[in-house]
């Protein structure tokens, strides 16, 4: 893991997108996800000596910050849902892939939260199952199982959409 501010900048430029996507799994808006990422990173930095695996611990901190922020925002969200604009995509989608990747993103949103966060950590965060298990404080087999179920569910959902077209 990086040590200096410059090393952290390089790490965040490379892995920050995945971390922000992860924060977005527990946030209702992109702005909330950014706040959670910042708060979570600060929490990680101030307590990182507790970490067995720093990457896993960073994800733990960001997750905790996003959940805490979500609890506080929930009442406001109920009032604002009717007037809110749809959130923009969390992905940079090329125009030629718009339909397919939009469908994938929509199917991803429909996953149960515990499966969705494992998918994000594994696919885009590039964490190992051991790191995912540590970050979520779950057994390794549970992390692997959630991942498999998530992939299967996504595939079924996307296949059924293609079948309906």
């Amino acid at each position: 893991m990086p040590q200096s501010a410059q090393e952290w900048r390089v790490w965040l430029e490379r892995h920050g997108a995945a971390l922000l996507l992860f924060a977005a799994q527990w946030s209702s808006t992109r702005s909330d996800a950014e706040d959670a990422m910042q708060t979570g990173f600060l929490r990680f930095w101030q307590t990182r000596e507790k970490a067995r695996d720093e990457v896993a611990y960073l994800y733990t901190c960001v997750r905790g910050a996003a959940i805490d922020l979500g609890r506080g925002q929930r009442r406001r969200q109920v009032r604002e849902t009717a007037a809110s604009l749809p959130e923009p995509s969390s992905f940079d989608i090329p125009s030629e892939r718009f339909e397919r990747e939009s469908a994938i993103e929509a199917a991803l949103r429909e996953l149960p939260a515990d499966q969705r966060e494992v998918i994000v950590m594994k696919i885009w965060g590039d964490l190992t199952f051991a790191q995912i298990a540590q970050a979520l404080d779950i057994p390794l087999n549970t992390a692997a199982s959630r991942y498999r179920y998530a992939i299967r569910r996504l595939e079924n959902e996307l296949s059924s959409e293609v079948g309906h077209e």
Binding site: A5, W8, R9, L12, E13, G16, A17, A18, L19, L20, L21, E34, M37, Q38, F41, L42, W45, S89, S90, F91, D92, I93, R100, E101, I104, E105, I119, I123, W124, R148, I151, R152, L154, E155, L158, S159
Partner: protein
């Protein structure tokens, strides 16, 4: 996992999450080494001023003690040979008036 699931996995891996705005990264990195808050600066200034004042007072006191403590510097006064004490040289106190009284 079957072949379609492996293909989906590859599709997912190819998707690019949006990068955080540079300003967010700047804020996160700045928080790693926060600048001293205004109240801390004032406290440090007050402590520094107090230390400086204490050093000044101590130096004044020690200088004053060196000036007034112990015997005055001796001075050698030459007396006339006709002086009844017949001592050509007397070690006298550093009080010019005292030596004048002997002439």
């Amino acid at each position: 996992m079957n072949e379609r699931e492996f293909n989906l996995e590859a599709e997912l891996t190819a998707m690019r999450p949006k990068t955080p705005p540079p300003a967010l990264l700047d804020q996160m990195l700045a928080a790693m080494h926060p600048a001293p808050r205004q109240s801390n600066r004032l406290l440090l200034c007050a402590i520094g001023a107090g230390a400086l004042a204490a050093c000044t007072i101590i130096s004044i006191i020690t200088q004053d003690q060196a000036t007034h403590s112990g015997q005055p510097s001796p001075s050698i006064v030459h007396l006339d040979a006709s002086h009844p004490s017949d001592q050509p040289t007397v070690l006298a106190r550093a009080n010019p008036g005292w030596a004048d009284g002997l002439k």
